[in-house]
């Protein structure tokens, strides 16, 4: 059986096709990702964008719509996926996906483009507690992106630059607009880019960590979402949370889409 999970994020659309492998005695290996695809939609019409990326991923996998038993959607735009059989919240999808990749995980930190959230989960991947920040993107990827622009660095260089600094510069600004002016002040004070990058990522990590502390940190902890690709942020978050290890999935931006596809499959079993 093949199921699909679509994560309609605020910046990107992620689609995963999951195949039921039926491996007896190895629950976490019962399913495998058949195909995954990410798209940065060029248009504002999310309905059309979802249709297009779904058809693309099916074509790439050599499948037709009728080959897929069920489609579930998640993410900020989940209601726009008209062809989905059901829509689940980012918390439910993220927790299920994280526990699929790491069965020992009990705390999931999800940092995407516009939002970050902390999720406590049980061993089945069902959320028991969650907290997000509804108001501000200062604890999310777009904040880091805006700050990297201010420093004229690519996102990857921004993360790597922060790893070269051992300075702690507190950033007080609570929003991207004020923080950007704080970064400009640091640039004018001839502060090295590496130190500014670390200050920014420490600030994002500190906001994310405050959310996660609301639900409580219980090992193991997984970080999912696009910010996993930012090595500087991962280091800052580890330090802020006081944990030795963060479980980092290989396909971090697809974890919620995988969780969705799993929920679709489990509903049909």
């Amino acid at each position: 059986m093949i199921t699909a999970g679509i994560d309609m994020g605020s910046r990107t659309i992620k689609v995963v096709l999951l195949e039921d492998l039926k491996v007896e005695g190895a629950p976490q290996l019962n399913y495998a990702v058949r195909k995954a695809q990410i798209m940065f939609p060029g248009e504002l019409d999310q309905d059309q964008a979802a249709e297009r990326v779904y058809d693309d991923v099916l074509a790439a996998a050599g499948l037709k719509r009728e080959d897929v038993a069920a489609v579930y959607a998640t993410g900020a735009g989940r209601k726009q996926v008209k062809f989905a059989a059901d829509a689940v919240t980012e918390m439910t999808a993220g927790a299920r996906g994280a526990v699929f990749f790491f069965p020992s995980v009990r705390t999931v930190v999800d940092v995407g483009a516009e939002e970050g959230r902390g999720i406590k989960t049980d061993e089945a991947g069902k959320p028991t507690d969650f907290a997000g920040n509804e108001k501000c993107a200062a604890g999310a990827g777009s904040f880091a992106e805006a700050m990297s622009r201010a420093l004229q660095l690519s996102l990857q260089d921004f993360g790597e630059a922060s790893l070269k600094s051992d300075k702690t510069i507190p950033m007080n600004a609570q929003c991207t607009v004020f923080a950007e002016s704080e970064v400009v002040s640091l640039i004018h004070a001839s502060t090295p880019k590496e130190d500014i990058a670390k200050a920014v990522l420490d600030a994002v990590a500190s906001r994310v960590c405050a959310m996660v502390r609301r639900v409580g940190i219980e090992n193991d902890v997984a970080l999912i979402g696009g910010m996993v690709h930012n090595a500087g942020f991962v280091a800052s978050l580890k330090a802020a949370m006081g944990v030795d290890e963060l479980k980092l999935p290989e396909m971090p931006e697809y974890v919620s889409a995988v969780g969705c596809a799993l929920l679709a499959a489990e509903t049909r079993h």
């Binding site: 689940v88 919240t89 439910t92 069902k126 959320p127 028991t128 507690d129 969650f130 907290a131 997000g132 920040n133 509804e134 108001k135 501000c136 609570q174 929003c175 906001r207 405050a210 959310m211 609301r214 639900v215 929920l263």
Partner: protein, 94 residues
């Protein structure tokens, strides 16, 4: 599940927590819906098909301002929503 709705900003941390496990079998007929003077609560069917209460999306970014009339500054010593919730499912972080 404990659902935390709200945010942290420069002035503080503003979350309303709803313990949905206590909320599912509400013994007081969702009294919180009527108790909130700003009608900030609503019911929804969650991902596990349970009917629970949540904070309406339009209030989640402005709790500090929306709840102010029920706080001590507004002359209240107790919160109407937490008082109405007999199972004790609702908590404010501030």
């Amino acid at each position: 599940m404990i659902a935390n709705y709200g945010y942290k900003d420069g002035s503080g941390e503003y979350y309303i927590s709803i313990d949905t496990d206590k909320c599912i079998e509400c013994p007081v007929g969702r009294a919180c819906l009527a108790a909130c003077p700003k009608a900030m609560f609503e019911t929804l069917v969650d991902d596990y098909d349970d009917e629970v209460v949540c904070i309406k999306a339009q209030f989640r970014k402005s709790l500090a301002y929306d709840c102010v009339q029920c706080k001590p500054a507004g002359g209240h010593t107790r919160l109407p929503c937490t008082d109405a919730c007999a199972p004790g499912a609702i908590r404010h972080s501030w």
